[in-house]
């Protein structure tokens, strides 16, 4: 009979990754890859933020010339593209990659090598976008790249090509992650974790991943059309040859609106966990929240025309989209009311993550209400493409997604690092972020109603917009300071924070039932789940039921049934590999070449497929 210490050593050996740089390049551990996604996303947040600060500095006074008009226009296009494609979605999915296997009680994701490949493709794609900016080929046509402005005739630089291919990079990456997470969540839950016991963050990631599969396929196809128009002279958007500029808008917004819910829904999952932990009671209305998440995901595909109210589409049709855009708020309202009810009947713990929940409410509710206003066609026709919308979108994205994300980073920090983040720094960060966000974006609603359009590199002094713009710029700097303090907190606390045990917050989900940080293989023994809040099981940890019979010396884990998580089979997963990286590099070479010649498709296939075959070629281990 082996001792517990021996068992831990065997488990660590089986599931571990070699140390050193080779280990970093070959790791397929979801925790390592997830942290990489989050860290890289925060890096792009910083880049996008610097772009924003520069723009706000230019706009602080009328008719300043910090940037040339062309460069300013590239800056706002890069800012939007960075935040939406390179920061927000990868950050949320990265959090999902890190947390989902821990929350559902398994040892890794179902396609670990695909996950590693997805990271490399994302990293290369993001860097590729910025290579454009520094060579005078920054994306010039907005993050939404409307045609015909993004066609060759009006953008003779490589900017729109680089933009289109960056989309392809990020779509490949996020779709690979989404498929991986869907299968992992459906098939690898610990025995007993039936559908109605899945943690709410995992539900949100499941719904989000389905949305990613459909929405990102749409933008990938659209960006192929655009790339083809530019490279081989197809005529998808050329109205002189039977194409249509509005085709782009339909395709883009069919993706674009679900995209914002792809960012928002995981944030609601985070809020559910923060509310539960910091109220010390189970979530009120678990089932309504699950249905609300699913409903939001589905309805979000039916509202896209509200971005196109000014394009002259038939009036009768527009009314349908007003209705759907109003209806989509109802599931979110359900979640809001359930969270308030949970806090009401719980015992609030005044720690920093709870502050971020309160900040989330303050800003997101405002953003949701301005969204309801924008659903109205007559009002939208005034507010569309003005600073009113800039205010609205930053309310819902920063309040609705970034605030929960900041709360999540501080909340799960002890789990990932084994140390507590600084509470004082957290409070300062919250204060700066909160004041900064409100000061920057609240006045924008007024500016929009007073005639200031979007995407303008300057404005005349006689418009009278200077005062509010200056205020907003001050706010932007305060916001940036808040981000800096948070990042500093995350970095410094690694070395100076007090050590955290398994469960410093007293939380209810499975990730808190293992060590901080978790060992390779996540759990000494796979748990059996008996309730919705397994870590609040009154039995002592050593008395809780576990799974037995899985060998520790092979990378084996359990496949269970999708509905009620009864064990179905054992499965062996592949281990670390270097081949994900050359596959990603081959993909990258192909995609970059495609900007210059259609032969990129052939070259990319020749370079990417062999490593793919090697990584998937059956050995004694698993295949993907």
């Amino acid at each position: 009979m082996t001792s517990a210490v021996d068992e831990h050593a065997v488990l660590a050996n089986t599931w571990g990754t070699p140390r050193g740089p080779l280990g970093w390049l070959t790791s397929v551990d979801h925790k390592s890859v997830g942290l990489r996604f989050i860290g890289t996303a925060l890096f792009f947040l910083a880049l996008g933020g610097v772009l924003a600060l520069t723009m706000r500095t230019q706009l602080a006074r009328p008719e300043t010339h910090l940037l040339t008009p062309q460069l300013y226009n590239q800056f706002f296009s890069m800012h939007g593209t960075t935040m939406m494609f390179l920061f927000a979605v990868p950050a949320m999915m990265g959090l999902g990659i890190y947390l989902v296997p821990l929350m559902i009680g398994t040892r890794n994701v179902i396609f670990p090598r695909l996950l590693a490949y997805a990271y490399w493709v994302y990293l290369i794609g993001g860097l590729f976008l910025y290579s454009g900016l520094v060579t005078g080929n920054g994306a010039p046509a907005g993050w939404f790249s409307y045609t015909p402005l993004s066609e060759t005739q009006f953008d003779p630089t490589k900017g729109s090509d680089i933009w289109a291919q960056t989309i392809t990079f990020t779509e490949i990456s996020m779709m690979a992650v989404a498929v991986t997470l869907i299968v992992t969540i459906l098939k690898q839950r610990a025995p007993g974790m039936s559908l109605n016991r899945i943690p709410l963050f995992v539900w949100s990631i499941l719904v989000t991943s389905f949305m990613v599969v459909f929405a990102m396929t749409t933008i990938a196809t659209a960006s192929f059309f655009l790339a083809a128009d530019r490279l081989i002279n197809t005529r998808f958007f050329d109205d002189a040859r039977g194409g249509d500029a509005l085709l782009w808008q339909h395709l883009f917004w069919l993706f674009g609106h679900p995209e914002v819910y792809i960012i928002f829904l995981p944030a609601t999952g985070i809020v559910s966990h923060l509310v539960t932990t910091f109220s010390r009671r189970p979530m009120f209305g678990y089932t309504p929240i699950v249905f609300a998440t699913i409903a939001t995901g589905i309805i979000s595909f039916g509202v896209w025309v509200h971005h196109m109210f000014a394009t002259g589409l038939p009036q009768l049709g527009l009314g349908f989209y007003t209705a759907s855009s109003l209806i989509v708020t109802i599931p979110t309202a359900i979640q809001l009311f359930c969270w308030i009810a949970t806090l009401w009947s719980g015992q609030p713990q005044w720690r920093v993550p709870l502050l971020f929940v309160l900040g989330f409410f303050f800003i997101l509710v405002r953003g949701g209400l301005t969204g309801v206003m924008l659903a109205s066609v007559p009002f939208d026709l005034q507010a569309h493409d003005t600073y009113f919308v800039v205010g609205h979108l930053h309310d819902v994205l920063i309040g609705g997604a970034v605030f929960p994300l900041m709360g999540a980073l501080l909340y799960w920090y002890p789990k990932a690092t084994g140390r507590m983040p600084s509470e004082v720094a957290g409070r300062w960060a919250f204060g700066l972020l909160f004041i900064g966000q409100n000061l920057t974006f609240l006045p924008m609603h007024l500016l929009g109603l007073h005639g200031m359009p979007r995407r303008v590199y300057t404005y005349l002094a006689s418009t009278g917009w200077g005062g509010l713009n200056l205020l907003e710029t001050v706010g932007a700097y305060i916001l940036a300071l808040g981000v800096l303090v948070t990042v500093a907190n995350l970095i410094v606390s690694r070395f100076t924070g007090p050590r955290a045990g398994n469960d410093p917050w007293g939380a209810d989900t499975l990730e808190w039932a293992t060590t901080s940080p978790p060992p390779p293989g996540n759990f000494a023994e796979i748990p059996v789940v008996m309730s919705r809040d397994p870590n609040w099981d009154p039995a002592r940890p050593e008395d809780r039921p576990v799974v037995t019979g899985l060998p520790l010396d092979r990378r084996e884990l359990l496949f269970t049934s999708a509905l009620d998580a009864t064990p179905v089979r054992r499965i062996e997963l592949p281990g670390p590999t270097i081949w994900s990286l050359p596959a990603a590099l081959g993909t990258a070479v192909g995609l970059i070449m495609l900007i210059f010649t259609p032969w990129g498709l052939v070259v990319g296939t020749l370079l990417a497929v062999p490593p793919l075959v090697v990584w998937a070629w059956p050995k004694h281990g698993g295949s993907a």
Partner: protein, 321 residues
Amino acid sequence: MAFLQGAHSVLAPASPQAAAIARLAEFFIGFGAFIWLLVLGFLAYSVLRPRRLGERDEDRRITHRQLVLVSVALGLSTLLLLGLGFVDYSTGKHVETAYSKSADTLHVRLIGHQWWWEVQYESPHNPQLLKTANEIHIPVGRPVLLRLESRDVIHSFWAPNLHGKSDLIPGYTGELTIQADRPGIFRAPCAEYCGAQHAKMALLVIAEPAADFATWYANEISNAVAPADPAATRGRAVFLTAACPFCHTIRGTESAGVVAPDLTHLASRQTLAAGTIPNRRGDLGGWIVDPQGIKPGNQMPPNVLPAKDLEALLDYLVTLR
């Protein structure tokens, strides 16, 4: 340019349509503020309310009562949204129909270019087209049907004092009917990102009493005044021999360029370069010589002219009322 104050605000309506939308906007702001404060109030109470000792054990009773409260809140929210939908619909209907029925509709064709507005007045009675740029005059109280087209990328016409915006999309002809209730100068900045100088592409909509409008119209449709003195004559010659006629037209001269604004009545306009600079002699001179300095990336090249030629040209251009 003090006239710009308030000359582009959704909340300073000058038409029945904009007035309906402004009322809607004010209602939304009030309603939104109320709901926001209500939700925050409940949230604040939920975390700040005094807790009784032993309250945790009463979880189940609290849950049931809150089930009722949450259901009521949800029901009320749904009803409110339904009500909002109705308000939206009726405002939309009002906006579509609140035009003066008694008067003729004036037809104006607006063609978007990077980065200026081409204007043509159409009339069934007069085969001669009235062509101008970057400024439209409309008679107070009469509906004006704008036909919206684009020669290049997507632009958007937006005069907030008068109506919501409507896009100018290549391959499409859009239609927007506007009507001013009072005289005024209303600024319409381009409202769809259209490239480098999107920020400096504004149209002026000048609403004036019917008689003033008729005067303006009759003047504007006529050819350019012939130069009355030697300086202006010399200026016209400079115009015709420099690069100007490649792009511009002054009706009544041999020039026939169509890719840039029609200059026949340049001096009657309030601004230059699509609402960017005031139309004063010095500004005009600066624009002719160095348009890239004022609007970098726009389509007009610099014109290097000897000082005397420039002065003569300006002498001519300022006569083009």
